[in-house]
Symmetry: C2
Subunit: 383 residues, 2 copies
DNA sequence: AAAACTATCGGGAACTTTCCCGAAACTGAT
DNA sequence: ATCAGTTTCGGGAAAGTTCCCGATAGTTTT
């Protein structure tokens, strides 16, 4: 029968229930509960595991502490031992496990980047700028795109936070009106920097360009070219960029004594379809505009395509100016007048700011300059 | 003087060296070494730490195991206790620490994506496709770009591996001739899937499109349009796509009895500058080509810009066909004839393949179809 | 009422690394 | 030889989870 592992007797052993499908026994003599050892576990199929600090220590017959010291470049170690360890580590292709380190220090060395999209020129370039300084500082990057959806943005913030990123670089969606998910980030004291699509009501650093000045120059340029009825296809009001560029547009009109026609200002959600719809709407107005200042280049390009398809001549019948100097704007015909902004540099600045934040938090706003690039879409030949 | 903490006597205590700036003592009576306890450590500045499973357990007066079971949806738990735990977890905004889990299971739930660049349409779109299926499967994504540099690619592979990604999605650079860094990945048994810019000599799954067929159709289309002297601005020979598209080009010429002029085939490194240089070179040949088939759309667009700047009329004097249906190709004038490939779908397929790999490794090659899109850049009006 | 069982729960190991501190083996000085 | 100091190393705790297994209390069967 069943032998008690304690007293090696079988007389006093009786069944004592089943746990997880396994029979348990009880020895009345020893007052001892036990189960039979599982017959498996003989395979010894120790997972093909990465080589650890302990492997090195064992092979060298020393302690893990010493190996750690050697690897970390610590001082309390004999030069010979260090060399020995370093050699073996290289030979075994030892790679430190960042997970253990992260768990210990509760720092992942990962920063999250959250952007609305990266199909166009703007955000990829910005990300590249940020990645340049971050990877130099030893950080990896986790990129999420919210696809201009508020829900996706929230989900991404949550995912990034649960991944325990050390910091966050974010540009909000056109939909975002509620910023509670970002407040949650700040509550957990995770450093965060906004860029381009910022969030002024939150006490956190931001990197933007001089949107007001850029818009002002753009519209003034149109006015100087003789355009008089200038529309503005603007972004949603929730975005600070939209508001700033709208202000630049307004003030430029005002400065030159042009009336501000509310019908010529359209806020939209930055989607391609809506851009086309509103472009068509503007051009089919009883009194259509003779120029349009678009919130950004993709929008301007959509407008151009619509105008062309309607046979509206650019720049003679319709002047167009965009914003951000997307490479496509130089390729398209006629080439698109636009506002250049230092996109790569914005990414760099944002990353630098984030690194500073991780050292010691403080609140700053970086504003970078813009520059008007005059091309053909706005040079009115017959004013 | 100094009192021995063991016998509480001071008579037998004497100095016994200094370690890390701290005086040590020795009690001859007790044969006991000791140092004075540091006066600090009174601040109790326990780092603002995230709420853990232990916090919940303590507050509820239960064990961490029980909490873990409740959170993980295990069975061995009372319904009431589970509810209690779940409620408190929600109230405390508990988020499981993925680091601990990753360390335990040695799985990070992160996959690395390595692409040559993401400035253009192609790779961002592919990444989005991949991200769609990966995030649905609970994986986060770490994106690296090698910037068409072999060294950067190696560094990125190393970084991704040291981050302990669970899998790798990669598209190699135009420079990559040596694949040892990828062999190292396979040696460590980290699943890897190549897409687009694949590596046929490695035993690992790949996702490509039917490059040969696409190229063949493109060139045949040009021939049918009456073009006779068709050049090919090809990618580097190290890339399988380059070789396949070159073969398609060759066979199309051969099928229609056109001579294969080696001078009209140029391999280049896919950089913008070189594209311009070679486009100029081709167009200034004593016997310039009357059409060019470009390895991809960005290349074709560069060629168009060069041709335009030289006053070469497209498509009358020069037909152009690209590859990959970049959105810009529809915008540019004349619009660019190109080969459509299911980019988003490639990303999805690659990700799916990777997920399968992580389950049980096997070697497959997915080839997706292409489709010719005829636009204006190649429709010869006066053949 | 003893025997066998079920439903819950707790305790510890393990994952890998770093850090703190104690300890041994030396080197000089007295 | 004794004492003080230096150099080098080892042991253990900690980080947050999950998993394995043993251990109760209560319930049903014999």
């Amino acid at each position: 029968m069943i032998k008690c592992p304690k007293c090696l007797q079988i007389d006093f052993v009786q069944k004592a229930g089943i746990t997880r499908g396994k029979q348990r026994y009880f020895c009345k003599d020893c007052d001892y509960h036990f189960t039979l050892p599982t017959p498996s576990a003989t395979t010894e199929n120790k997972r093909h595991h990465q080589v650890t600090i302990m492997d090195i220590a064992h092979q060298l017959g020393i302690s893990k502490s010493t190996v750690s010291r050697a690897l970390r470049g610590h001082s309390d170690i004999h030069e010979g031992t260090r060399k020995m360890i370093l050699d073996l580590a290289q030979q075994l292709e030892y790679q430190p496990n960042p997970l253990a380190n992260a768990l210990l220090k509760s720092r992942t060395n990962i920063v999250g980047i959250l952007v609305p999209e990266f199909r166009h020129y703007f955000f990829p370039t910005m990300i590249m700028g940020a990645q340049e300084v971050l990877s130099k500082a030893g950080y990896n990057v986790m990129i999420c795109q919210s696809d201009e959806s508020y829900e996706t943005e929230m989900a991404n913030v949550k995912a990034l936070m649960s991944s325990r990123v050390d910091g966050l670089l974010v540009s909000v969606t056109a939909q975002t009106n509620n910023f509670d998910h970002f407040r949650a980030v700040l509550r957990k004291e995770v450093p965060m920097v906004f860029f381009n699509r910022v969030c002024p009501e939150l006490e956190t650093p931001q990197v933007i360009v001089d949107d007001y000045e850029g818009a002002f120059q753009a519209v003034e340029h149109l006015i100087k070219q003789g355009y008089r009825r200038i529309a503005h296809l603007a972004g949603p009001n929730s975005l600070l960029v939209s508001r700033l560029r709208l202000n630049g547009y307004r003030d430029a009109l005002q400065k030159h004594g042009l009336p501000l026609d509310p019908d010529l200002i359209i806020h939209y959600d930055l989607s391609e379809e809506k851009a086309r719809i509103y472009a068509n709407y503007l051009l089919s107005l009883p009194q259509p505009p003779d120029a349009i200042f678009a919130i950004n280049d993709p929008t301007a390009i959509e407008i151009m395509l619509v105008a062309k398809s309607r046979g509206v001549k650019i720049p003679q019948e319709l002047g167009i100016v965009g914003f951000s100097n997307d490479p496509v704007s130089a390729i398209i015909e006629p080439s698109l007048t636009t506002i250049e902004q230092p996109v790569w540099e914005m990414g760099r600045q944002a990353a630098k700011l984030l690194l500073e934040q991780m050292e010691h938090p403080h609140n700053v706003i970086h504003t970078l300059p813009t520059r008007l690039i005059i091309r053909n879409s706005s040079v009115n030949l017959s004013p």
